[in-house]
Every structure is written in C-alpha cells, then in structure tokens.
Amino acid sequence: MIPAAFEYKRAASAEEALALLAEHGDEAKLLAGGHSLIPLMKYRLAAPSVLIDIGRLTDLSYVNDGGDHLAVGALTRHRDVEINDLVGAQAPLLAAATRHVGDPQVRHRGTLGGSLVHGDPASDLPSVMLAMGATMVVTGPNGPREIGADDFFTGFLETAVNEDELLTEIRVPKMPDAGYSFQKFNRRAQDWAIVGCAVVVNDGQAGVGLVNMDSRPVRAAAVEAAVASGASPSEAADAAAVDVDPPADLNATVEFRQHLARVLTRRGLEEATA
C-alpha cells in the first residue's frame, strides 16, 4: 500500500513549521513520528497534499524539571519517555502507560505529542493526561497558549489544536508519591486497548482516565467523585461506565466494554491504593 502523492517538506525549526502551515493551509499535515499518520495515508484515509516533517525538531524532544511539573517536549519519542529517569521518579504513571504503547519499533518512532494530537480514544496516553491533569502548550500565528487536558480532546480524532498550530510541550504535574496504575485489556500483544484506564491517587483524590470508552478520550468523573467521598475501590469502580458512550465493534459489545471499564477501574484503584 502506497500513500497518495504528496509533497514532502522537512521543517528545520518550529518557526519554519508554522510558516509552512500558514502557507499551505488545510492541504498540509504535520508529520511527527508518522506512526498514526502514515498508516492512515497508506489506507488512503488521509491524503494531505503537503507533509511537513517536524520529526527532526530535536529542540522539541526533552524532559525538563519545570518546578511543580515535568515539561515534556512534544517531539519526545515514546522510548525516550519510557526510560527517562525524571519521568520514572515524578510521573511513573506516564512511564508505565508508555511501555504499553504498541511495540518497541513503534516506540522508537512515535512521539508523545503525535499521540495526543491524533486524538484517538483508543490511544493509551490521552488517558494519562486526563488522570494527571496535564496541560498542553500549543503555538500558532498568535503565539503560545495553554490547553488543559479536559479541554484538549474535543471529538473522535479531534483536538483543540487548530490547523495552523503546533503542539510544543506537555506539562505533567509531578506526583512522585501518588499511587498509580495503568490497566490495559487486549487480546494480543502489541494491540490497542479494547478498554484501558489510567489511575492516580494522591491525598485521597483520584484521577481516572478511560481508554476506548467513548468517541474521545474521557475522564471517569463519577469514579473520581466517589473516591473523594470515601467510597472503596470496588464501590467507586461501579461508576466507571456512567455517563460514557462506548463504541461497539468486532472486539467488544457496549455491555462488555462497560463491564471491562468497571473491572479495570477496580483493579486500577486497588493497585493505586495498595
């Protein structure tokens, strides 16, 4: 399978990427690791006429200590997140979830930023951003702006990042002492989650993000509220499928997904509070 023809341009800087976006408008797409976009283009589900490769913007590949948060460059590859000592110490949930993304070859190329902007409800890492309350920094013609995780994922394969904007940094609150758990149910190694959940519990407050339980990555707000009011993990997890609208597909019916969400959330809360 070969993508439809396009013109390839490699951006040498974030400024150049923004200028190329401005020049080519909605004909253009940014290419980071390419591990979501190239498969879509091979299936001809996407056919941009210009590809702007930002994969070489190494100045956007970093993990820095930002005081109360970790600042992760959008072009940081999954593998680099996975083995980063700061991430391991300050945001171990992110490291744990990243280890579940695809396989080693995918993690050598795919980026955290690409995974978030792709906006796939079946992706693992958006759930971590929701659970931990991360902030995304995007920059565009009018300069940088910050978007909270709750406002970031707006629909199926849609985010709050505009077509003329670039995600540059992900700010993940430091939670060195929080309990955490990442749960992923799938049938085969390397697969996407049929259902998954990311859980952090800090000072009696839980953050719970769900994978593949709605048309966009969503938070399990009812579970979080139950934990805050003192419910046990199994009581709180009963609310995991409240107010969400899971898809049905070859892998699972709606009811099976609801069941999985309750079971995985209970396991996640138990592990995080053990």
Partner: protein
C-alpha cells in the same frame, strides 16, 4: 526527490517519489531484498531494519524521513559484526544470525530478517533479558511457523543468558 541514506555503510542516493516508503527504497532502489514485506500495515515486523541502531518498521516510514540517517538491513549485519570483531561461527556471521542457525529458530524464514534485526536491537537495550523480556521485546514481530520457542531460545543464547 533525491534521497540519500547510508545503507549498510554505503551511500545510497536515489531519485524517488516523495511518497516512497523506506522498505521500497531498500528493496527497489537499493536492490536489497532481504528486508521483507509481510503485512504492509505496521503489524508483523517482517520489514524491521535499524535506523541509527534502533529497530523500526520500514513499511511505516518514508524514505525521505530517513534521509541523512544510517540504516542497517539484514544484508549488512554480518559485516557490522565483522567490523566490530564480534562475528562468529563457520560463516563468520553476526552472533544473532549464528544463534538463529544453531537453535533452528526458523522454518519458512519469512519473518527471520525482521526477527533478527528486532532481536539485535532488543539486546542492545536489554543485554541480558529474561525469557519474559525476550517475548515482550519481540512483540512487534509475528512468526506464523515456529511457535516462537526456538526464536526465544536463540535470543537468550545470543545474550549469553540461556538457562
């Protein structure tokens, strides 16, 4: 567009379409057909090569993305080991190739080039893996013949960590 990639230590510069995938660049422009195409959809790992020493799926990368990088394919692996003084066995192969040979870690052989490349990259990152780490580390590579047992054995042997 003109794309230049160092492949197995040789400069390969070819005029290809912008949309050319790395695997087609290797097989068609460079004539290096050791890298196989299995699923063509990022799942099976038959197309695994190294870019700057790391295993990647060459069906999911554009040649243009890799321009300026170093690529190693199965054809270049033994030479790389010879240069490093680590080649071994009657044929003077890379230790992983020799180990696959000794452990009979293949049947039809279709997955083998990708499997070997993925295994070499795995040992680079985890030099003495457990059996579980080998199985997880090769999760991006499918084999429809062997049931994986001899492949796992070969990787453990090559790591010096076999039971």
């Amino acid at each position: 567009m003109q794309v230049s990639i160092q492949v197995n230590g040789t400069d390969q510069s070819h005029d290809v379409e912008d949309r050319t995938l790395l695997v087609h660049f290797l097989r068609e422009a460079c004539g290096l057909t050791g890298t196989n195409i299995g699923c063509d959809s990022s799942s099976c790992g038959a197309c695994t090569v190294h870019v700057n020493g790391e295993a990647v799926k060459s069906c999911t990368l554009l040649a243009a993305q890799i321009a300026g990088d170093d690529v190693t394919t199965i054809e270049g692996l033994a030479d790389q080991a010879r240069a490093a003084g680590t080649s071994t066995g009657d044929a003077d192969w890379h230790p992983m190739q020799e180990s696959f040979h000794q452990c009979h870690a293949l049947q039809c052989g279709y997955c083998t080039p990708g499997m070997v490349m993925a295994a070499v990259s795995l040992l680079d990152e985890v030099p003495t893996p457990t059996e579980a780490e080998v199985r997880e580390g090769l999760e991006g590579n499918l084999c429809r013949c062997t049931g994986y047992h001899n492949i796992v054995k070969a990787v453990l042997e090559a790591s010096g960590g076999a039971q």
